[in-house]
Symmetry: C2
């Protein structure tokens, strides 16, 4: 019984404390590709024992950052929704701010910085250039940080196989600029960003690298991608 005395303003601290533990932070980052992982896999990702991970996971559930689904003897954990993902991404951006002599930019990072998943949409330099290109060719309008769909864009995305009618019925915003962790410039998020990546994955033009957020783009995928960006 702690009583927490008074609630003046939102208790940021409680929420921040959830992400203040290295193991829990790693768990959140591991789930940022939008997939659901088992408790055991997350224990490994966090570098802790299964017991410890279990404790962390239940705290993240209680805090509303994760959702869980039982399936047989496995329990699949995933990020609860776009809000939670956005919080993690915001933290990622700011925590990379001051390099303090950051040396690493190995070849393995290179792929990750080119194309990766950010929760449910394309990120990395390809994600950034996607937003740039769509703005340049008039499918989207606005400046870097504020985007909206144009009439031409409706045509473009419909041609690409995106069901815009279905997206508009959802509460989630169509376009959204999400600050890119590695590029430090915005990429395309929102339901359209998610729908585009879905198409790429469904058609096999892009596939996930085994256990990471890295995306692998086929030549056909690159062709389709350029088709969207150029026009």
């Amino acid at each position: 019984m702690t009583l927490t005395t008074d609630i003046s303003g939102p208790n940021i601290a409680r929420l921040a404390a959830l992400l203040a533990d290295p193991a829990r932070a790693q768990v959140m980052l591991a789930l940022m590709d939008g997939r659901a992982l088992t408790a055991g896999e997350l224990a490994q990702a966090g570098g802790v024992s299964p017991q410890t991970a279990s404790s962390h996971l239940s705290k993240l559930i209680d805090g509303g950052l994760l959702a869980v689904a039982s399936q047989g003897r496995h329990r699949y954990y995933r990020i609860s929704g776009p809000d939670a993902a956005h919080l993690v991404e915001t933290l990622s951006v700011l925590s990379e701010e001051e390099p303090t002599a950051r040396i690493r930019t190995g070849p393995r990072d290179a792929k990750l910085r080119t194309a990766r998943i950010c929760y449910d949409h394309l990120a990395g330099s390809m994600g950034v250039r996607l937003l740039d290109g769509l703005l340049a060719n008039g499918a989207l309008a606005g400046d870097d940080s504020n985007v909206r769909l144009t009439a031409k864009g409706e045509q473009v995305f419909s041609d690409f196989g995106v069901d815009l009618g279905a997206l508009k019925r959802k509460k989630r915003p169509l376009c959204r600029a999400c600050l890119d962790w590695s590029e430090r410039r915005p990429h395309l998020a929102g339901s359209i960003g998610a729908a585009l990546l879905d198409r790429f994955l469904d058609e096999g033009w892009i596939r996930r690298e085994k256990g990471s957020r890295t995306l692998i783009v086929s030549t056909e995928g690159l062709r389709r991608y350029e088709g969207l960006v150029r026009r």
Copy 2:
């Protein structure tokens, strides 16, 4: 010496830990009105002794969330920039998500929910309606979460006394949708949002309540405000 072994991904945890302490969180919230406060005032805001506060403040400085300026025998602390403010606001939104039987909505809250400062721009129901109104009358374009300036908007804001040329020279985006903590809908941020509030404050149409984020709107201020929203 802790060595931190490896750096796989940004170390969110270290940044989150800064905000995980109740005293530090209160300090950040106290500074969300954009003013600079002394160490002593912040100690009181955090509910801790001056020694303890000093320790917290230096940690927040090291973490890049605060900036400090010495002036005589006082040290004035302020939030380091828009990024840090945005992080705190993001946390506020998400930490208010699940009400868990939240009962409080007292009269003192009412004023705060009507008009308050969010770092450097207008927030609360007036901030939300400002964005809505400017979108409706065509000064801004886009949907709720993605806004851009229109030709008509350039006229409107210039007439209101905003130096758009100066704003455009800055790196900061002109318009930005900032999710409102109390309304759960976006209000107008970015350099235009900041410039508008500046005008209101400079002219005395709006003034700050003594030691809080609450804003007090004069009848003249309300008239000017309606002039912007209606048109």
